[in-house]
Symmetry: C2
Subunit: 235 residues, 2 copies
């Protein structure tokens, strides 16, 4: 009887976009840790996996406060990590789920930092939001010798500007609160016509916006808003 921690990427939102491996593991879990607290992310990861979970699984949700206070965040992570560690050392099969891929802009990484090397861990990759959007909208991410740059729109303006200037294909994540800035950059580099915005991709509330210039700049986009740009693709 040996415990195990599974870090599982749930993909962007459609339960059918989980991997077969993820669904097999979910069915064997005894305890699942799921994030809660973000207004729109509340139990979303849990709802995506719900159909695959065994009836008597113990669900432990943890609340992450929307704060820039690193000490406060760190304390929450320490507590969750400690709780998971105790469960695994008690011999339990424990899962932690995260939207999209587990290793890209995922809260999972904060846990991994604390737990790697202390307990056995297996990680299962997930479909990223941008792979989903590319397939859904028929726009390649990168072709032949082209590079693909995945950017967090919370990065400094000069980082984004440099990428816009030098790259032909990129993914803009965490667009939500940064739409005005992003659109100004797209305009500056004549990339507006090559961009597509998807909000809540693979969820029932999914919206695809082909013409970014049509959106009201003062509008607050959903938390899950991603833009793809590939200026080498003619459609």
């Amino acid at each position: 009887m040996s415990g195990m921690l599974y870090g599982i990427g749930t993909g962007p939102g459609d339960p059918d976009l989980l991997t077969v491996k993820a669904t097999n593991i979910l069915q064997q879990l005894e305890i699942i840790y799921a994030p809660a607290g973000r207004k729109e992310g509340d139990s979303l990861a849990l709802s995506i996996t719900r159909a695959y979970l065994p009836d008597h699984i113990e669900i432990k949700t943890h609340h992450f406060p929307m704060t820039h206070d690193l000490d406060e965040k760190s304390t929450v992570w320490d507590n969750v990590a400690q709780s998971i560690q105790l469960d695994v050392l008690a011999g339990k099969k424990v899962g932690f789920i995260s939207l999209g891929d587990i290793m890209l802009y995922s809260t999972w990484v904060s846990l991994l930092e604390r737990l790697q090397g202390t307990i056995p861990i297996i990680m299962i990759p997930g479909i990223t939001s941008f792979a989903y959007i590319a397939a859904k909208t028929g726009r390649p991410l990168a072709m032949a010798q082209q590079s693909l740059t995945v950017l967090s729109c919370t990065a400094p303006l000069e980082v984004l500007d440099a990428a816009f200037q030098s790259q032909s294909s990129f993914v803009l994540m965490k667009v939500s609160r940064n739409l005005a800035m992003v659109r100004a950059l797209l305009k500056k580099y004549h990339l507006l016509e090559h961009a597509i915005l998807v909000t809540n991709g693979a969820l029932s509330s999914e919206k695809i916006v082909q013409h970014l210039q049509d959106i009201d700049e003062t509008e607050t986009l959903p938390y899950f808003s991603t833009i793809l740009v590939n200026s080498k693709w003619r459609f």
Copy 2:
């Protein structure tokens, strides 16, 4: 009775890393197109999906010559596209499979260019080799404000050099024939200790190389060789 073309990403190699959606679609196909011809890629995509295919499916393999002759390549693509188009217009459910994700460095895109708008097409994303490697080796792809750059090592040296100079996290794809150059760049930017090489990831012949300096520079790596670098991750 209306035909449909499904472009399906098979993931890196483990049949369990297909999505549930991909397996559901594979089970309903009447015809499947699979690439053949690369020495090591021969029928690999087909072998990954084999367990999910219906008994009486028609398998059409197409050979892509290893050539830099664009006209020759283009003729092959034209013929495959035409054949698929005829099958779909005849009302068939037709699948085209491709390793990894369907929209990233995939032969699928050459087909999409020819067929988009002429027949109904649905695309299903797949797990990329780098998402698999990150999960397998416990190395995050990008965190917080960090960017992730995915590079094809067939790109010009100055493109790779610029990325190495400015980025902290990147994925190097198509490393196979370019190991000496890649390793020289990693050395130049003091990134060797942050790099990990995986060949034939998620296949039975998978190898993980933690110390790139230990590989013989004259060695020819397998076709599926990928390097991850994230200098911000301490392990």
